[in-house]
């Protein structure tokens, strides 16, 4: 079975976590189905004509830019990826850059793009980009970071020696899974910044919407009492609906 081809089509789990969307929504938002056989009729096989290959970039799969880059008539060369076993780079990690003009510098991971084995390091590995250039306006030059491959481009920094190091996933005595630096056997903790999503930096500092969000104490209340009633019987009892007639017996053949 060509498992890597199947896995490569999927959106990374860190992307799903960051988006705070259900995975099915993300899949639906970027899929391009051109033809689908009607469902529920025995004469139709389960045939789907849809786009198979997508070019994942720094644009996230649910955005309009992604849709634009993967437009129906746009076909780009296939990107070959080195399979990464267990993902070990998270937002907020201190990494050292191993390639390019900023080789040897250390920085903080600001974005993770698992679909391409990329991380973006804040303020490093940058180029200048002119935006908003017009006939009458020269544009504004901004500095933008280029992504780096996690396989060759960056390495995690050992917290003790502050040197780049290989890491290993191990279990503590308590059964927690941790990253351990191979150089000094120190645990490299997963940073708090990795909890960030589109909606909040971390769950504790999320600002609740008074009109739409149910508070924690209301949610924790248990209002269910077990009774010998079906859901409909419960509702009828509560609303005071009386009914004495019983539908005639029905049989299935």
């Amino acid at each position: 079975m060509r498992i890597f081809g199947y896995l490569a089509k999927k959106v990374g789990d860190l992307t799903v976590k960051y988006s705070n969307f259900p995975e099915s929504y993300i899949k639906r938002s970027f899929e391009q189905v051109y033809w689908k056989n009607p469902t529920g009729y025995p004469q139709y096989p389960k045939a789907v004509v849809a786009r198979k290959r997508f070019r994942f970039t720094t644009n996230r799969p649910w955005t309009g830019q992604f849709r634009q880059q993967n437009d129906r008539d746009v076909h780009r060369k296939k990107v070959f990826l080195e399979p990464v076993g267990e993902w070990s780079f998270f937002r907020g990690d201190r990494v050292e850059i191993m390639v390019g003009k900023d080789k040897g510098k250390q920085g903080i991971v600001s974005q993770v793009i698992q679909e391409r084995n990329w991380v973006i390091v804040e303020g490093l590995n940058t180029h200048l980009r002119t935006v908003g250039k017009d006939k009458s306006f020269p544009g504004v030059v901004i500095q933008s970071e280029a992504p780096l491959l996690v396989t060759t481009g960056v390495k995690l920094v050992d917290p003790e020696t502050l040197k780049p190091t290989e890491i290993e996933w191990r279990y503590t005595e308590e059964g927690d899974k941790v990253r351990v630096s191979k150089a000094s056997s120190r645990i490299i903790p997963i940073p708090k910044a990795s909890e960030e999503t589109i909606d909040y930096k971390s769950k504790e500092v999320y600002i609740e919407n008074e009109q739409k969000d149910t508070k924690a104490d209301v949610i924790a209340k248990v209002t269910f009492a077990p009774k010998l009633n079906t859901f409909e019987m419960d509702i009828m009892e509560e609303m005071g609906i009386k009914e004495d007639r019983v539908p005639a017996k029905s049989y299935w053949y």
């Binding site: 969000d213 077990p226 010998l228």
Partner: protein, 162 residues
């Protein structure tokens, strides 16, 4: 869709037919046209009381029945949505991210039995109100409930689950 019927689609079908339906299939095979195909006689039979094929109502339920060529509307067959009064409801459309994740086990039949019957059984046992077979001498309302009565009570709601 059953597995066998989807497999049949892969077998090439070579037939000689002079009838209109297969002729028409060439153009209309990519989308369903329910209840519209076939000869006049066939469609007449489909409209009658004994249709040859199942009539495709496209997921819509009947709200009555035909009697002597007239349609009789049955109010009980029309679904009625009962919406509870939500004026003092504290629940809102979403759950705050600050709320802790609740992981709950499935509510099983055993737990329902424990909640409804177990307390009464224990007290009856302690007070000696059980006969030799373990049946209660003074059964409660729930203990008196017979299976067919319970089904009837559930069906009285008009629900088609049972």
């Amino acid at each position: 869709m059953s597995k066998t019927s989807s497999l049949i689609n892969f077998i090439s079908k070579r037939t000689i037919s002079l009838s209109a339906p297969l002729e028409g299939k060439r153009n209309f095979r990519k989308f369903p046209i329910p209840n519209k195909r076939g000869s006049r006689l066939h469609k007449k039979q489909q409209a009658g009381p004994n249709p040859e094929l199942e009539v495709d109502r496209r997921g819509v339920r009947d709200t009555g029945y035909m009697l002597n060529g007239r349609f009789v509307k049955v109010p009980e067959m029309i679904p009625e949505l009962i919406v509870p009064d939500l004026t003092n409801c504290e629940l809102k459309p979403y759950v705050s991210y600050k709320a802790a994740d609740v992981i709950q086990s499935e509510f099983t039949a055993q737990q329902l039995f424990d909640a409804v019957y177990s307390k009464k059984i224990v007290t009856d046992y302690k007070e000696g109100k059980l006969d030799q077979e373990g049946n209660p001498l003074e059964p409660s309302k729930e203990e008196n409930l017979q299976p067919d009565e319970a089904v009837a009570a559930a069906r009285r709601t008009g629900s088609d689950l049972l």
